[in-house]
């Protein structure tokens, strides 16, 4: 490149005013190393600009020098400053590292405890469900025992009552295995049936009790096959009791073909 053209281009002026990119600056500097005349030209340009800048001079307040001296004394020399900052930064990083490690350890501990408590909670929930079931069973058992006791105590009361007559009704020829009892209180006229052995009736059919007085059947009410004493209708007078199988709700006259059990009242 022609050096005179390079000078004329004006690039040295921009270099002197620090108005070039880093790459452009490096180019100018490498050119100056090779060509002494470029350096001389640059010095002239710089002198001119320095003079131009100096034309703007204004004396500053003298306090600024004192502030500068204080600042550089406080900071120490330049070479010391960077390492101090780096050590401080390093300390901060290490500090952060310890915090991070501690945080991680706490997180792992927390997760382990969470898992442990989760398992314990699951176990407790299962136990509670199991205990609830057990309690329900016990309550059911108790209720059924209570029911049985209630039935038994009523039955016992009836049996112990001296006014009650016990009539055993035995199976007929058709149903020799069947058997039932009637407890009849002569005073209060209350009647109870106690099933000894009666098969479950066919659908749409129901057992009906009859009182027989002088050969005439009197309706004593229908009953289902249940445990304990079954209260039926009151009866004033009777010589015997019988049970027939009748349509649901009972009949007005007994269906004698379906006579199940019968028993006469015996004077004890």
């Amino acid at each position: 490149m022609n050096i005179q053209n390079y000078i004329s281009s004006g690039i040295l002026e921009f270099y002197a005013m620090d108005a070039l990119s880093v790459i452009e600056k490096q180019e100018v500097e490498s050119m100056m190393e090779k060509h002494e005349e470029l350096k001389l030209e640059l010095l002239e340009i710089q002198k001119t600009l320095e003079s131009y800048a100096s034309l703007h001079s204004i004396p500053p307040p003298s306090t600024i020098l004192q502030l500068v001296v204080e600042t550089v004394t406080k900071d120490g020399v330049s070479s010391n400053k960077q390492p101090v900052a780096n050590i401080a930064a390093l300390r901060r990083i290490q500090h952060f590292k310890y915090i991070a490690i501690a945080a991680t350890v706490l997180l792992v501990l927390s997760a382990a405890l969470n898992w442990k408590y989760y398992l314990a909670l699951e176990k407790a929930n299962t136990e509670i469900a199991f205990l609830n079931q057990e309690q329900e069973k016990l309550v059911n058992n108790f209720n059924s025992m209570q029911a049985t006791y209630d039935v038994a105590s009523v039955e016992l009361e009836v049996l112990q009552n001296p006014d009650n007559k016990i009539v055993k009704m035995s199976g007929t020829e058709n149903h020799p295995e069947s058997m039932a009892y009637v407890y009849w209180n002569v005073e209060s006229q209350e009647v109870y049936v106690k099933i000894g052995n009666l098969p479950a009736p066919p659908t749409q059919k129901q057992y009906q009790l009859w009182a027989l007085k002088d050969g005439i059947p009197i309706d004593a009410g229908v009953f289902d096959v249940e445990k304990g004493l079954l209260k039926v209708k009151d009866i004033e007078a009777a010589d015997a009791f019988a049970v027939t199988l009748e349509p649901q709700g009972g009949s007005k006259q007994p269906t004698l073909e379906d006579l199940q059990v019968i028993g006469e009242i015996k004077l004890i």
Partner: protein
């Protein structure tokens, strides 16, 4: 401005070249040795010029004082970065002062603080303000009167407002190559006048 200041200002063109006690080279050596005496010498010889340039850029006394202080601290701390093969020491210091001031003026903090026009508005504002308000010395006035206003404006945009070649080209609607040659002509004219 009184006559003493004017005389001082005119003398400041010469700086250490005419200082019988110490040379620029010796001052740099003292600074590199971290000798605080150098700060006093530096201040006596260059503070007014640096402060004037900073004032010219920021137009704020308060901010200029802070930037001048900052500039001296930077000179002290970065003295190892000065290489006499790459130019003159005074130019190196002026560039630190100029860059600090221009960076500050372009910062959001300064713009919000001083309610100055944005850079883009400044592009279209004629440089009348600077020629009228910043003629601080008789020397400057003489120079300005004899320098072509357009040439002066180009130098000031680069030197005091940190414009790039591209921004100047856009401002004057001229090619990049012409920007450089105009700046060269402007500085050649300045050299003749001084």
């Amino acid at each position: 401005m009184n006559s003493t200041n004017i005389t001082k200002t005119l003398q400041s063109n010469h700086h250490l070249e005419n200082n019988p006690n110490i040379s620029e080279k010796q001052l740099v050596a003292l600074l590199k040795a971290h000798n605080k005496v150098a700060l006093n010498l530096l201040y006596d010889n260059y503070a007014a010029a640096l402060y004037g340039v900073i004032m010219r850029i920021t137009r704020s006394q308060h901010h200029s004082e802070n930037i001048l202080q900052d500039t001296f601290v930077k000179i002290w701390k970065n003295i190892e970065g000065y290489d006499s093969n790459k130019g003159r020491f005074f130019t190196w210091m002026l560039n630190i002062a100029r860059n600090s001031a221009i960076d500050f003026v372009r910062s959001k903090a300064f713009r919000a603080d001083s309610r100055t026009d944005s850079i883009s508005e400044q592009v279209y504002t004629p440089d009348i303000l600077s020629t009228e308000t910043n003629i601080q010395t008789i020397g400057l006035r003489k120079i300005v009167e004899r320098l072509d206003p357009t040439l002066k404006q180009i130098i000031d945009l680069v030197y005091f407002q940190g414009y790039t070649q591209r921004e100047i080209a856009d401002q004057f609607d001229i090619p990049l190559g012409t920007v450089k040659s105009r700046v060269r002509i402007a500085i050649r004219e300045l050299r003749k006048l001084m």
